[in-house]
């Protein structure tokens, strides 16, 4: 697997020049940033970073934390958040698909999942390069735990950040 170290300054440069992809999770709508008048829009009033880090992805579905243990969440205690936004940057030179998947489940007040497995909220794929940046909007909020997974036929390093927001819909 080829590894490329990247500084924050370099990452910012690439933000300016690289194409940004808004990955659309299948079956879930992605809303445009600029809403027409009288269209309901989402107004966040509190935003928190839930996860930030890098993941070495390979041909296995791996959580952003790097594990392949299916029962483990990436983030816990996500109940308060209406929406989650997953933004990332995939390194690597040879064009290859990077798959991403969002899973969710609810737990009881003792932290035990209500049942086995996960709800698959959706999957998305980007080809990197030319696309490197991706942004996934996860509108199914208030699940207690999310497991965000990536995989790629050719190993990649993926930097990403997951934020959650509390907000409300308004006209």
């Amino acid at each position: 697997m080829s590894a490329e170290r990247i500084t924050r300054r370099e990452m910012l440069k690439r933000l300016v020049i690289a194409p940004v992809g808004a990955a659309v999770l299948t079956t879930l709508e992605v809303r445009e940033a600029s809403a027409a008048a009288l269209q309901r829009y989402y107004a966040p009033y509190f935003v928190a970073v839930l996860w930030e880090g890098r993941t070495r992805c390979d041909s296995l579905w791996r959580s952003l934390k790097g594990d392949v243990v299916a029962i483990l969440p990436t983030v816990q205690g996500a109940t308060p958040y209406d929406r989650l936004y997953w933004t990332g940057y995939a390194l690597g030179n040879a064009p290859v698909n990077v798959d991403m998947r969002v899973l969710a489940r609810a737990v009881d007040h003792n932290g035990v999942p209500l049942g086995s497995g996960w709800r698959e909220i959706g999957q998305a794929t980007i080809q990197t390069p030319p696309m490197r940046w991706f942004r996934v909007e996860i509108p199914e909020g208030h699940w207690d735990e999310y497991r965000l997974e990536v995989r790629s036929a050719t190993p990649r390093l993926v930097y990403s950040r997951l934020i959650g927001s509390q907000g409300y819909w308004r006209e």
Partner: protein
């Protein structure tokens, strides 16, 4: 000398790990989501029942004192795939907790989504805001084999 405070309006208590000094936080944002219910509903018998298993009690709410919540979110894990319908009833009470009248307003109904061993999510209501005081959430297995429905309901402000 221990620090003491008036606890439960009538007794002096020493501040301790077990009996912490109550404080009021200023400029605090309210917790936006509260867990309201976690229940396993036995759907081996047929017939309409609420999530807590009550049948034949049409006025009995599943959830009470919910007026502060803009929306309820119903998460559930269903063990089986048998056809099941759901009905969500709601009403408001006065400030004493007394329903304004008998009966309910039906705010949602339909077929319960999902197959065997699946996770699902329903928003109550699916559009607009709620702020009802009481809810009666009914399920009814109308065919197939019985199964257990495991639900969690979160109230969102």
């Amino acid at each position: 000398m221990p620090v003491r405070f008036l606890k439960n309006a009538s007794e002096l208590a020493d501040v301790s790990w077990e009996s912490p000094l109550p404080v009021a936080v200023t400029n605090a944002k309210p917790v936006p989501a509260d867990t309201l219910l976690i229940a396993t509903t036995n759907l081996f018998p047929t017939g309409e029942r609420d999530l807590l298993g009550s049948t034949g009690a049409p006025e009995l709410p599943t959830l009470d004192a919910c007026g502060q919540y803009r929306k309820l979110i119903w998460f559930y894990f269903r063990e089986g795939a048998a056809d099941t319908t759901y009905t969500i009833l709601a009403r408001v009470t006065d400030h004493n907790g007394a329903p304004l009248g008998a009966g309910w307003l039906t705010i949602a109904s339909g077929t319960l989504p999902g197959g065997a061993n699946s996770w699902n999510r329903l928003e109550i209501p699916d559009t607009g805001d709620a702020y009802y005081d009481q809810y009666r959430i009914l399920v009814n297995r109308t065919g197939g084999s019985g199964y257990y429905l495991i639900s969690k309901i979160v109230g969102v402000r």
